[in-house]
Point group: D2
Chain length 343, copies 4
């Protein structure tokens, strides 16, 4: 019963198979091999326009290099107060941008509203000594397991662009959001004004496959050099390409995400049916029920792994916990968790 | 006939097997899993003392984070004029150290002599406005395919330490150097005064397995945070651990390096027998023969991949080329190359 | 009627006289001249212990180099939400510390309470991926014109030190705070746990005289190099020394601050007597009355210069304005301002 | 007999007079005062076109912020091996550019030749992992006391521009070079392809008056913010403006430089007449004679201050020394020095 994080899972079989399949012969290094090229073409099919794709070692790398690519002195990055780039990346964005500030905008259920973004931007007029708005970074699906609709993304991007800001999407759980919305990757990104995307596949069945997908040519200028300078250019890049090859094959990536989301839904429904309040709507692969200490203890005793998440909610008797499902979550684990929690 | 680089090879079968073997169930993320712990213990057996081991995404990451860990304002890193950290890492060391200067010391066959290092250090006394010597970075095996003896490493480290400098080894081809010397990993590193090592396994049969091995506790203080901030902490760290597990098993890593070195030796002997001059002694897995344009054209026409390397040597008729062998180089390719070159 | 800022004033006559007096003959450059040495000794008399003193070009320089001297990766600087270092320095602290985050702690009247600081520190335990508390930065007098008592400074420093943090004081208005408290410089700083001080004299009658005064030897290690690397080491350093020489002579600096504070008190009393509410207690040389638009317009029409300061207070009829007095503020200007405002 | 540096001098009387003259009343801070505006207009008259002018605290500040304004990842700055920005600024350029490399080009008498620059640029083609040429930085007058002709500057700028590089002039001794050439400021700068200039007045009679003069609008984009972020924006900016006001008045700046140059010429002629070899031609205010130890000792005993400069020349009996004259050097000191040296 592992619900600690989707990154506790291994790699999916097709992903591993692809790595084995492509481990033959030699290939040019540093991303100049034919497989990297082929996979990049596949990205372009998925996202429709001609887009540069740059693999990175980690999602943090993709996020902060995206920001580095548009960095300006005294720049501000607007993001939610729960954003991974702000809360969970050891100051990487601040470092790689040579000291831009990350400013947290008010959120509801982990999502920023366009009006609140516009109000925050307003606070920092041209010439402000606090800083100058440079980028917006949205997380899709959000850290609260909620999903921005394309219309919401578009409204936020519009507010950002009205001030000349870059609109970035942290897609660590891109596939989970996508299958929830049922729209196309293009509709969820560049058609809604996204300039640059951190496309994450690691949490959804790869072992390490992350990429920056650049929709706005203005964002690409020094990006390859920034990536190399950060030590994020793999010599044997084809192994990342291989993972993506397996990941995208036959819609495998969407199947993986559908499973993870279905498990979250099943978990949410079971817990709600047993009378547990949920802190946030369940739209992707995360569930935040409020549980009492006895239930938490009982679940832990039974071997369940998860984190308490008091920032999501807490009352005198109960505290929120975060449950993350993955492509590899067995249905039986979900049912057993619900049963014990129902207690 | 691929002699362009050892990083054009794929991964060795035992390394791949280990990745498959360990892709079961879930495991805690960010390097807190049992396999990472087990592999770290294995590193300690190999290097004898109790050493912190931190995986990184790339060799560049290991090199420049090692330098970041000891960075000081106006600091100087002494290195050879052919060092990878200086010539081939897109200014990563300068960036991650917030602007330390890399100073190239005179070399012979890619190796720095202790006397030349001492003379260079002397040029920068306390209070120099050019900068203050902070670290020495040696490449073992060197970029010219030569190998420092433990005594040479010790003399260089002593010269560095006389000024309070950190002694770093870039071990991108650590195993190739080790099997050439026939000494222990400890003798080649901390027993010879090395404080911190970039341990590379990617070029020698892994797909991405690099680590910082820290012998001097003074070098470890903020290293884990620096790595995380650089985006070099894998969530599914166990897959790097798995590669090392396969790599170290049954001395597999040494076998791989012995093969690569033997192929380089065979190549060198064959080329020398045919009257070709070699720019440097062949001690690891690189050979730098001087070839004439007709020979180069003939080899390329036959499908050989390699780079011209004029900095290694050039006369009116011939130019040096760099030939790198790997764990995967077939003996037949070597023989065919020699035959064609022999003309 | 200039109340826009104390940095709109020029230099006091004794300060100018000292500059002229010391402009004779030649002197060694970069702060190695006898006058710099003599003035440093004077600093030591003022602060009692043996302290390194490093002049900087600006108060921003002193603040951010103080932070750079203790910077660590993923470090956090705790400060108030109105702090100059956070709000008014163009991201200088973030840049010079290679990306530390500035975290704003709740305040009352511009002052942080020790309990709130401790609570904020608590949120970032060892290993937090948001960041690690590294320093506290207090502004004395605060940006709201209030003054920390030595006991309050001591409580805050104690909370910081309990976590190993450096305690920094931004003393841009040091003298104004000092004469308000009537204590010694030592009691307001190192005796209350301050490790490093930005000592500002520019706003109080110099034209450019700022210094870092280092009480804790741990904070001094690379500070001189950091200052030089920032371009803040004057070649003709003696002219800064000369200003301090004039500033400190015969208690001149305290006289200047007493005048500025008295003018603020007179302004506050006059405005309050006329029924205007003040947003904050008046303890140094700043007054924040709430004024209605008609009054503001009347004052501006009469030539008064000041800024609206809505963050200090606003209701449906009135908005706060910031009035700053200086050593050079004429009493007549104060009285005329009050008269017009009373209008 | 002070020949240690021109920055050992104080400020000239007209410069001081201007500071006193402008120390009346209040003025807006941070460079928005009328005097700063007036002086900026004066700069424009001097340099002819409409140019942004940004004061900085030091020459180092002007140099490294000029480089920061055009910084790119993995960027290279080409400069001479004796350049102040490389040798004497504590790694400031590397820091403020987030790690650009400074590459030294071969020089003759401290001056780079266009052919050598082109050859160095050639070594770093697009895609080089060593780095990408971004800027050229020339020192005028050079650190060896020689002066580039406008034709030489133009040839160098052309070589830089052929690769899209920014052409920067470090004019710490701008006036000394200008009066030597007898050309206009425009001819020595933008008409010869200079994009951005560090205009130094400190060494030539101000106490602290340095500015970036921006000829190429592409270089100005974030420059004001970079300056502020570096802590180089003075609140009481008018005092720098005042110095420039005095400096430029009635051609005072050119008179000061002419005196310094004449003293250097007199020194050179006297030393040469006495049979002393000079390491470099004397074109500005620096003289590098080779002296024997006995002469050096005799001069020091007589109170002469100067530095030995072995990098300028050394043979078995003699070593070069650097003698710098200034606006304030008395003719009598020159004559006495020559007399003692003559032995």
């Amino acid at each position: 019963m592992i619900f600690a994080s989707d990154n506790w899972a291994g790699a999916s079989q097709p992903v591993i198979d692809a790595m084995i399949r492509h481990n033959t012969g030699t290939a040019p290094a540093y991303g100049t091999d034919p497989l990297t090229e082929r996979v990049t073409a596949r990205f372009r099919e998925i996202f429709e326009p001609h887009v540069p794709v740059l693999f990175t070692a980690t999602g943090t790398g993709a996020n902060v290099l995206s920001m580095a690519g548009c960095a300006r002195p005294a720049g501000l990055v607007m993001t939610s107060g729960t954003a991974h780039i702000l809360c969970d990346e050891w100051g990487a964005a601040e470092f790689h941008t040579n000291g831009m500030k990350l400013v947290s905008v008010a959120t509801r259920h982990g999502k920023i509203a366009a009006g609140d973004l516009a109000a925050e931007i307003e606070k920092h007029p041209e010439g402000s000594r606090f800083g100058v708005p440079v980028a917006l970074s949205l997380t899709q699906a959000s850290e609260c397991g909620t999903v921005y609709t394309p219309a919401e993304v578009a409204a936020l991007s519009a507010a950002a662009k009205a001030r000349g800001m870059v609109s970035h999407m942290d897609g660590a759980r891109f596939a989970n959001a996508l299958v929830h919305l049922g729209c196309t990757p293009a509709e969820m990104t560049w058609k809604a004004g996204i300039d640059i995307l951190s496309f994450g596949a690691t949490k959804n069945g790869c072992w390490c496959a992350e990429a920056m997908v650049v929709f706005n040519p203005d964002c690409v200028r020094d990006l390859a050099t920034l990536r190399a300078r950060a030590g994020h250019l793999f010599s044997k890049s084809r192994f990342v390409a291989a993972q993506f090859d397996g990941y995208f094959g036959d819609g495998h990536w969407l199947d993986l995400a559908r499973h993870a989301n279905a498990m979250a839904r099943r978990l949410a429904d079971g817990l709600a049916a047993a009378g547990n309040k949920l802190a946030y709507p369940v739209e992707a692969n995360e569930v935040f029920p409020l549980l009492d200490p006895a239930t938490i203890a009982r679940l832990r005793a039974a071997g369940a792994a998860f984190y308490e998440w008091p920032e999501a909610g807490r009352d005198e008797n109960r505290v929120a916990v975060r449950l993350v499902t993955s492509f590899a979550t067995p249905e039986a684990d979900v049912d057993r968790f619900v049963e014990i929690a129902g207690g």
